[in-house]
Symmetry: C2
Subunit: 494 residues, 2 copies
């Protein structure tokens, strides 16, 4: 085996010479699926046939994904086989022909997916087959259970264990980092695991990482939660729902989000985290993930129904998703917003504060710490008193020590080309600008918004500041925002 240094994204690829005796005698061709064994470990990889002296005849190259999955050292011996036939794909074929997938089928599919037996194409076919509204509640429940079965599961021996989650699509919406300390300060157990950005400029885990370590193992998560009642850790590090981690990375490039897959994804992670109660935030807006009130209602009903089947009490809350929350978009910029709210600074972004208090209040009511209608007031008290800030610092310490989020060295201000009233803000294009500036890879990079919907601006007034860690990335994001100035749409007549 040889690490060949090619990153093929998700799919493990094995490279072999076309003239090597194995390709010839086994009848392997480009795109054959091959079972690769190293000691007692194995993966299934796709063959790319090499016609050049990139590899010696007795070498097999492994892509980064294959190398990660198999481990090992250059020069070690591996064994190669035709893979066992993959029976679970027959359930996918059956579904294509109209046969619902039962619990046995769902378990077999998820087992093969986490074992790496599905090629990218098989995964895409599976996702297309289950998208649309082709899964009923029974199927979604079966898949959610199957996703839980192939991952780890936390047990707390406490009741209730609460959680909050946002279905996403709204830049800067970092309420998690405020809700967790408020709720934990009230003594509720909230072991929050968050994701990193997949297509967005920052996930909650990325933002938290600028403030404290988030790559915690299960034992560490347990210690932090036992000590502080809450944590904000990166979920990917503990494989709570490894099947979902794989599926998401195929769904995104296809743009094939569906309610069924979203419900299974969210609830499998909540169940694996040991949650008994979960509040799900569904922002609605023309450039948010969910674009209509009706779609939000349907999604909410599914979440509640499947949650019930799994024994999780789910509540949903539909919120305003017409514009970003807070001012910063990008890990460190969002962290500064969070700190301002937690520290009760006078210039803290009020929309982030209000949104966090609303959600924290609901969670406190669900967890029995406040009477119905009294949760938000309690959350407000805990935040204003400094108890939430103290709890946040304690959580950071328990996770490995608090950090100061970085500031970007390179900045550029975009100003209004004309005066008027801000009538539309495009979440998606703002997110793209922040990514072009380097977020989330460069944690200090991103976009700082200076206006919100209904702000009245003068010509030449700053609309946003691009933050970048390198001059090249700054230039690149600058070109984009200048070409797409209407991502902040100003009505000159109003």
């Amino acid at each position: 085996m040889r690490r060949i240094g090619i990153d093929t994204y998700l799919e493990p690829v094995i490279y072999m010479r076309s003239e090597c005796h194995i390709c010839r005698s086994e009848g392997f061709e480009a795109h054959s699926r091959i079972e690769v064994w190293r000691g007692g470990q194995h993966i299934v990889a796709t063959l790319n046939v090499v016609h050049s002296p990139l590899l010696a005849l007795d070498e097999a190259g492994l892509s980064e994904a294959a190398w990660r999955a198999l481990g090992g050292v250059d020069g070690e011996q591996i064994k190669i086989f035709h893979p066992q036939p993959m029976h679970s794909f027959s359930y996918v074929r059956g579904k294509i022909f109209g046969k619902p997938i039962d619990a046995e089928g769902a378990n077999a599919i998820m087992r093969d997916i986490v074992d790496g037996r599905y090629s990218d194409m098989e995964m895409a076919a599976f996702i297309a087959t289950c998208a649309g509204n082709r899964m009923d509640t029974n199927e979604i429940t079966a898949f959610t259970r199957a996703m839980i079965n192939v991952g780890k599961r936390l047990e707390w021996g406490r009741h209730p264990v609460v959680d909050k989650h946002c279905v996403g699509g709204l830049p800067g919406n970092r309420t998690t980092l405020i809700v967790v300390p408020i709720v934990a300060a009230c003594g509720l157990t909230i072991p929050k695991t968050s994701s990193r950005a997949i297509t967005s400029p920052a996930g909650s885990a990325d933002t938290m990482e600028t403030l404290a370590p988030v790559t915690l193992d299960l034992a560490r998560i347990r210690r932090v939660v036992e000590q502080e009642s809450g944590c904000i850790a990166w979920g990917g590090a503990v494989s709570l729902s490894p099947a979902d981690d794989i599926l998401i990375r195929v769904e995104r490039p296809l743009g094939l989000d569906s309610d069924g897959q979203l419900v299974a994804s969210v609830l499998s992670k909540k169940a694996a985290a040991g949650s008994t109660h979960a509040l799900i935030d569904i922002p609605v807006g023309p450039t948010a993930k969910v674009r209509s009130e009706q779609a939000a209602q349907l999604l909410g009903a599914r979440l509640i129904e499947v949650g019930q089947a799994l024994g999780i009490q789910v509540q949903t809350i539909v919120t305003d998703g017409r514009q970003p929350i807070g001012r910063g978009i990008g890990p460190a910029l969002e962290a500064h917003d969070v700190l301002a709210v937690l520290q009760n600074l006078p210039d803290a972004p009020d929309d982030l504060r209000q949104r966090a208090l609303l959600l924290a209040g609901q969670v406190l009511e669900m967890g029995g710490k406040a009477q119905p209608g009294k949760g938000m007031a309690l959350a407000h008290t805990v935040l204003a008193s400094g108890a939430a800030w103290k709890k946040f610092q304690a959580i950071c310490d328990a996770q490995g020590g608090m950090r100061v989020p970085p500031r970007a060295a390179h900045q550029h201000v975009l100003t209004a080309a004309a005066g008027g009233r801000v009538v539309e803000i495009d979440n998606r294009r703002l997110a793209r600008a922040a990514k072009l500036a380097g977020a989330p890879r460069a944690p200090a990079a991103g976009v700082l918004l200076h206006v919100a919907l209904d702000t009245v601006v003068q010509k030449g007034q700053p609309l946003l500041t691009i933050h970048a860690e390198s001059p090249g990335e700054l230039a690149y994001a600058k070109t984009y925002v200048q070409a797409e100035q209407d991502m902040i749409l100003i009505d000159e007549d109003r």
Copy 2:
């Protein structure tokens, strides 16, 4: 650009260093889709990111598929862009959510597919979405038309132009090489284009190639047909249905054949070849492609209906697909069977002869050369008189000169482990054995069958002979047939 010598099968892949300024400034990551321009030509390729010195920082490597599509020489300059958004995939998404695809959508999808804009995953999602029975006759017709629109189309200025086609799955079923000369000898126009093997041990084009050149361009096909009324050429060389050529290569690994896709595939090629009449052979058997009489009837009805919409008169014929036709499985072995039938040799395989006469008779009736019920007798006369053999030699000469099919140097005979009656023959495992022996890459390789259903054998009597061009391949196929002896199932009690 640099030809990196990696065969990724269907998908064009571009390799660039992770630290190169393009990846960094453009935000390209592993699996990004990238538009690559060389002069006025372009392709869309998938990015694999290189972390090793496989490439210089200012080099982009191209996979074999990308290199073929783009042409060029090492060291030439290429330009790289973010691809235009691919609007046609929104029709696929719409279909997933239940919206039928109209003519405009079908045209857009097929155009993007032949332009290489679909990734493997997008193609797999499209195929899964249209499989099952999810396409009605209107949609199948729209897709067939769209597949015709993106390819070339032959016009003959003659009427009728006849064709025959087998939906496949039956080893050794090389009736084409006998039907074409019989029909052409009667003066009917039959410009037959055949495929090479995709997953089988031989396609008609592979078998024909051991007897004469088959890689003809359109002008040559035209000359052969004008002179001899018929040809047997490789369809892939003339891109009659390039979209289908691409789709088939994704459908096979997924095992997602569907009636709709099969109908579009077959009829787009018939229409592109300028056929006015087509006879479709549908073999039915437990290890054939179509497994029940009912499935054959449904498929037949679809073929006739869509044919009608396209102005092609389609007839279908359901035949016995319980065992291979003829004795040989593999290009040259099948060619020897064909020659024995055409030359009226006494030991010619009678099942191949009878099947070919049945089909030729039907085609002669469809083309108006024989009264209903009299076609098979006419075909018999033409074959027995030597006129078909003469015509076949003339077609071979016109295609570039007749060849003698090779014989394999290495052979192994499998004998019966016990006496009894042959009650089952597994088409699929026999095909696999022939492929392990080297077919179709090694044209002389394959399997020669010595028994058929209902043959009574003695213990030790030869069942089949493996033919191989190398001792290694012989050993490999031998191991397989010894382990899978029940691919020829013998009932000892009968």
